[in-house]
Symmetry: C2
Subunit: 169 residues, 2 copies
C-alpha cells in the first residue's frame, strides 16, 4: 500500500494520525479501554492476523500509547497496558463513537458512554474550556500558532481567505 509519512508536517492532526492512523490501531486502543490487555484477547476481539496485530501493537508501544509488560515469566508472556498518553486519547474515541451513533446506528444505540460514578449515560460535546461554547464547523476555524512554519502560515492564510469570501457571499 502506498503510504507517505506525515511526520515532517507540523499539523497536529497529521502527527496524531502518524501514531494511530493505521487500519486497526484505533480499534486496538478501543479494546484496551475496554480492559483487554493480552495478545490473544485482541486477536479474538478483532479477528486480525497475528503478524498484523504484532505490527500494530509494536507501533502503539513505540508511539508511547501502550506499555508492554511481562506478566508471566514461565512461559514469558506480555500484556499491553495503556500509558498516560494512551489514556489521554479516550476523548478522540468518544467523539468518534458519538459521531458514529449520530450517523450510522440504524438499529438504535448499541454502545454508549456512562459516568463511572452515577452510571448515567453521558452526551459527549466538545466545548471551549474558557467560554463553554460548543466547538463545531460554524463556531471555529483554524489558526496558525507560534511555531507555525511558512507552509503552515500560507495554509492558514488560505483558510482565512476562504472564510472571508464565504462570509461575503
Amino acid at each position: 500500500m502506498q503510504r507517505k509519512s506525515f511526520d515532517g508536517m507540523l499539523c497536529p492532526i497529521a502527527r496524531s494520525l502518524e501514531r494511530v492512523g493505521e487500519w486497526w490501531s484505533m480499534l486496538i486502543l478501543r479494546d484496551a479501554f475496554h480492559g483487554l490487555t493480552r495478545f490473544d484477547q485482541f486477536e479474538a476481539s478483532l479477528g486480525i492476523a497475528p503478524n498484523m496485530l504484532t505490527r500494530r501493537l509494536n507501533g502503539l508501544v513505540e508511539a508511547g500509547l501502550l506499555e508492554k509488560r511481562l506478566y508471566s515469566e514461565r512461559p514469558p508472556r506480555h500484556e499491553y497496558v495503556l500509558t498516560a498518553r494512551g489514556r489521554d486519547f479516550l476523548p478522540v474515541l468518544i467523539a468518534m463513537g458519538a459521531w458514529g451513533n449520530r450517523h450510522f446506528a440504524h438499529e438504535g444505540l448499541a454502545s454508549l458512554v456512562a459516568d463511572v460514578q452515577t452510571g448515567a449515560i453521558v452526551q459527549p460535546v466538545l466545548i471551549d474550556r474558557a467560554t463553554g461554547k460548543t466547538l463545531d464547523a460554524d463556531s471555529v476555524t483554524f489558526a496558525a500558532g507560534p511555531a507555525a512554519d511558512e507552509p503552515m502560515r500560507r495554509r492558514m492564510a488560505f483558510v482565512e481567505r476562504g472564510r472571508q469570501s464565504r462570509r461575503n457571499l
Copy 2:
C-alpha cells in the same frame, strides 16, 4: 493489505472507522475543513497518488461525508464539498489535533483552533452536556445501549468486571 470490514459490528467507533479509517481519509477531511475542494488542491496538499486520492474521495462521497459537485461544464470539473454529516465530523478532528498538540508538538504549537467571532484561541475539552463533567479515562466507562446484541452485552459485562476488579485492588 489485509483488511477486515468492521461494518457488521455494532460498535459506533468501528462504524465510524469503516468510513474514515483508511490512511488519508481523515487528512482529506482536514483539508476540506481548511477550504480545499478541488482534486488538484488535495493532491498538492497531501502529495498523494492520483488513483489513491480518487479512491479515498469516492469512499468519502459514498459514505456521505463529501458531496461531488460539477463546478465547470466545459471542461467538466468537479469539486468536493463537506456535507452536513462531514461537517459534523469536525469535533473528532479537533479532539485529535488537541491530543497531537499535547503530545507531539515538540517545536511548540503550529496549528490551533480559534473562535470565528472573537478570534480567540480555544481550548477543546470534551464534556457531558447534562453535567458539564470532563469526559476522560477516569470519569467514564462504556455501557451497552438498547440496541446491543449478545456479543456487545458480553463485551460490556467484561468492561464492567474489569472496572470492578480494578476498584477493589
